[in-house]
C-alpha cells in the first residue's frame, strides 16, 4: 500500500478546474518534486495533501485512510500527527525565539520539550541561534528553523511549497542538503518548486499543467548522495553571512 494515493482528484472553483482529474501515488520514503507554471494547481494539490483543503471530487488516501471526507477537526489532528509543513514565507511567530517556534509545534502536538527542540535545531545547524528571534535571523536560517519545526514531531510526510523560493543559492543548497538528510533518514518528501536544480535532485518529478498531470520524470541518476558533506555546507553558509 502506498503511503499517499490521490484518486481522480478535482478541485473546482466556479468555472476553473484548479485540479482536473489528478491521480498519483507516493511510496513511503520517496522524494517527489512537483513542478509546473504558476497557476497550474501545485499549491492547491499540496493543500489537499496537507489536510488544509478538501478536493471537490475524488479520494485522498493517506496511510490507507480516506481524508477527503474528514471533518476539519480530524484533519487538524491528522495534519498534526502525520505532516510537516514548510512554506515559502517561513511563517515563524515573530515574538518567539527559534527554539520556541520549534516548541510551538510540540506544544500543539503533545508537550513542549526544550531539549528535543534544541536537538532539532542542531540537526539543521542552528544550535547557536536557538535564542534568536526570527527578525535576528537571515532568511536561510529562518527557513532552517521551519525545517526543524516541520520535522520535530516525526511526521510521515514533509510537504514543502517552494521552500527555496525566497532564498539565495547558498541557502538553497543548505536546505536541499537538509532534504537529502531527511530522505536518508527515511522521511517522505514532497517538494513544490520552480527551480529545476531543486527539482532534479528528487527521485521523481511530476509536472502539472492547468490542473492536470502533464509529465513524470524519473531521475535515473538519483543516488541519494549528499552533494556536499555537512561541514562544507555549513561553512558555506557562514561565509555567505
Amino acid at each position: 500500500m502506498s503511503l499517499l494515493e490521490l484518486r481522480n482528484i478535482y478541485k473546482i472553483y466556479g468555472e476553473l478546474h484548479a485540479l482536473d482529474d489528478v491521480s498519483l501515488k507516493v511510496e513511503k520514503g520517496e522524494w517527489v518534486s512537483i513542478m509546473g507554471p504558476s497557476g497550474s494547481g501545485k499549491s492547491t494539490m499540496m493543500n489537499i495533501i496537507g489536510c488544509m483543503d478538501k478536493p471537490s471530487k475524488g479520494e485522498v488516501l493517506l496511510d490507507g485512510v480516506d481524508i477527503s471526507k474528514e471533518s476539519s477537526r480530524n484533519l487538524t489532528t491528522i495534519r498534526r500527527d502525520k505532516i510537516g509543513l514548510i512554506f515559502q514565507q517561513f511563517h515563524l511567530v515573530n515574538y518567539l525565539t527559534a527554539v520556541e517556534n520549534v516548541m510551538l509545534a510540540q506544544y500543539y502536538h503533545s508537550i513542549p520539550d526544550e531539549k528535543e527542540a534544541l536537538e532539532a535545531l542542531d540537526r539543521v545547524g542552528l544550535a547557536d541561534r536557538a535564542k534568536h528571534l526570527p527578525s535576528q535571523l537571515s532568511g536561510g536560517e529562518q527557513q532552517r528553523v521551519c525545517v526543524a519545526r516541520a520535522l520535530i514531531n516525526y511526521p510521515e510526510i514533509i510537504l514543502a511549497d517552494e521552500p527555496t523560493g525566497n532564498l539565495d543559492e547558498a541557502n538553497e543548497e543548505i536546505v536541499v542538503d537538509l532534504f537529502h538528510k531527511l530522505h536518508n533518514e527515511g522521511t517522505t518528501l514532497i517538494v513544490v518548486t520552480h527551480d529545476p536544480e531543486v527539482a532534479e535532485v528528487a527521485q521523481r518529478t511530476l509536472v502539472l499543467r492547468s490542473g492536470r498531470l502533464a509529465k513524470e520524470i524519473v531521475n535515473k541518476n538519483f543516488t541519494g548522495k549528499i552533494h556536499f558533506d555537512e561541514g562544507d555546507a555549513f561553512r558555506k553558509e557562514e561565509i555567505h553571512e
Binding site: T77, Y107, D161
Partner: protein, 430 residues
C-alpha cells in the same frame, strides 16, 4: 509555552490591548458608577425628597371627620387633641426605621401689645429624643422645613435654650410689625402671656410667613393646652404604592391574610399610616398623596435613566471591543493560520485569544471599577449632596457585566478565527 505566547501578543499588540482595556474601563466605570448610585439612590432620593417636607400627616379623628365634611384645610382648633406623651411611640412601629423625621404642631391664638391678633405655632425645632432602642434622634422642623430661608438670625435652637421664651417669626409678619432679630414680642395667650425673644426671621414662601413659631411647651402654656397637640407631620421613607397598597387602603377586608401581611410588612405610605394610627390614640394618619407619588415616580425614572445609561455604555463598550479584537485577530491571521497548520485545534486558539482579551479586560475592569466609584462619588456629591457608599453587590455585578460584554465583543472575532482556513492565509505566494 501558553504563558509565553500570551506575553508575546500582549507585548506586541500592547497598543491595541491598551485600547481594549481603555474601552472596557470606560464601560465598567460607567456601569459601576451607575450601579453604585442606583443601589444607593433609593435612600439618597428619599433623603433629597424628604427635604421637601413630610409625606404623612396625623390629625385627631374628630378633626379629620370635620375636615372631610366641611372640606376645610387645617381647620381651627376643634377641641380634640392628640397626646404629646404618645409621640415617642411613632418610633416604635414596625417601620420605625423608615421614619426619618417628624414634628408635632399646636396652633394657638395670641394677641400682641398693640392688639394685633397673631397665629402662634408650637412645634419641635431640633427636639432631642432618646429612643427605647438606644437610638438617638433630633427631630423637628429644622429639618422638616429645610426649605425655609433664614433671612436673618438663625434657627431656633431648643436644645441649648430649654424653657427660654424664644420665637422665630415669618418674614411678612416681621415686616408688618417692624421687628427684627433681637427684639422682644409680648404675646398674650388665652391662659397666660410672656415676652418672646426673636432669634430668627424666616421666609417659608407660604402661609407660615404670617406666623410665629415657638417651642411646643411654650405655645401649650399660652393656651393652657399642656400635653395637647393638633397634628403631627411625619417624613417617612416609603415604597411606591402599587395595586395591592391601593386595594388594601380602600378596603382591608378585600384581600387575603397573606396579602394583608405582605402589605403590612412593606413600607407603603398606607401601611406606615396604618401603623401610626395603631400607636397614636384616636388619630387619623394619611399620606400627603402628591409627594409620596412623585417620590416613587422620580425614583423610578432616575433608576430607569441609569439603567439605560448603563446598558448603552455597555453596548458601546461591546462594539468597541468587537472592532478592536477583530482587528487584532485580523492582524494575526497568518500567525493563527500557522498555528492551525501545525496542529492547533480551534479550541486552543480561541482559548489563547480569549485569555489575552480577558487578561486585558480584567485590567481594564479593575481600573474602570475604581474610576467608576470615584465617578459615583462625584455624582453623589453634586446631585445628592452626600457620599455614595460602596455596596458590595456592585463588584460581582460589574464583574459579570464585564465578562459578558467582553465575550459578546469577542464573538465576531472568534467566529472569524474559527472560519479562518490555514491554506488561505499561508500561501500568500500563490
Amino acid at each position: 509555552m501558553f504563558g509565553r505566547m500570551i506575553r508575546g501578543t500582549l507585548l506586541r499588540q500592547w497598543k491595541k490591548m491598551l485600547m481594549i482595556a481603555f474601552t472596557i474601563a470606560l464601560g465598567a466605570s460607567l456601569a459601576s458608577a451607575m450601579l453604585s448610585v442606583m443601589l444607593d439612590v433609593e435612600d439618597k432620593v428619599n433623603q433629597e425628597l424628604k427635604t421637601y417636607g413630610a409625606n404623612i400627616t396625623v390629625v385627631p379623628k374628630s378633626a379629620s371627620v370635620l375636615n372631610d365634611i366641611y372640606e376645610v384645610e387645617g381647620g381651627e382648633t376643634t377641641g380634640a387633641y392628640l397626646r404629646e406623651d404618645e409621640l415617642g411611640k411613632i418610633k416604635t412601629i414596625f417601620w420605625a426605621f423608615n421614619i426619618v423625621d417628624y414634628a408635632p404642631f399646636v396652633n394657638v391664638k395670641g394677641t400682641l401689645e398693640d392688639g394685633t391678633d397673631v397665629s402662634v405655632v408650637g412645634s419641635w425645632f431640633n427636639h432631642h429624643m432618646e429612643l427605647p432602642t438606644g437610638e438617638e434622634l433630633d427631630a423637628g422642623i429644622a429639618s422638616l422645613r429645610s426649605w425655609w430661608e433664614i433671612e436673618s438670625g438663625e434657627w431656633l435652637d431648643e436644645q441649648s435654650n430649654e424653657n427660654a421664651q424664644i420665637a422665630m417669626i415669618g418674614t411678612s409678619l416681621a415686616q408688618k410689625l417692624g421687628v427684627s432679630v433681637g427684639d422682644t414680642l409680648h404675646i398674650k395667650g388665652s391662659a397666660s402671656d410672656g415676652d418672646f425673644h426673636i432669634t430668627g426671621i424666616f421666609d417659608a414662601g407660604g402661609d407660615e410667613d404670617d406666623q410665629i413659631f415657638v417651642p411646643l411647651n411654650t405655645a401649650q402654656a399660652l393656651a393652657n393646652l399642656d400635653g395637647c397637640i393638633d397634628s403631627i407631620e411625619v417624613s417617612a421613607l416609603t415604597t411606591p404604592e402599587n395595586e395591592l397598597a391601593i386595594k388594601v387602603a380602600q378596603d382591608p377586608s378585600s384581600v387575603t391574610v397573606s396579602q394583608y401581611e405582605l402589605w403590612y410588612c412593606t413600607a407603603y405610605a398606607s401601611s406606615i399610616c396604618y401603623q401610626i394610627q395603631e400607636v397614636i390614640t384616636d388619630s387619623v394618619a394619611s399620606p400627603v398623596r402628591q409627594v409620596a407619588d412623585s417620590e416613587g415616580a422620580i425614583l423610578e425614572k432616575t433608576k430607569l435613566l441609569m439603567i439605560l445609561i448603563t446598558i448603552l455604555s455597555l453596548i458601546g463598550a461591546a462594539l468597541g471591543i468587537c472592532n478592536l479584537v477583530t482587528a487584532s485577530v485580523m492582524e494575526r491571521s497568518s500567525e493563527i493560520g500557522l498555528m492551525k497548520a501545525i496542529g492547533a485545534q480551534n479550541g486552543a486558539i480561541s482559548g489563547l485569544v480569549l485569555t489575552e482579551i480577558f487578561i486585558t479586560a480584567i485590567f481594564g475592569g479593575v481600573i474602570g471599577f475604581f474610576a467608576g466609584f470615584g465617578f459615583a462619588q462625584i455624582i453623589g456629591q453634586t446631585v445628592f449632596n452626600s457620599a455614595i457608599t460602596l455596596k458590595p453587590m456592585v463588584i460581582p455585578i460589574v464583574s459579570i457585566l464585564v465578562v459578558l460584554v467582553t465575550l459578546a465583543g469577542s464573538i465576531p472575532a472568534i467566529r472569524m478565527l474559527l472560519r479562518l482556513r490555514p491554506a488561505e492565509v499561508l500561501h500568500g505566494g500563490r
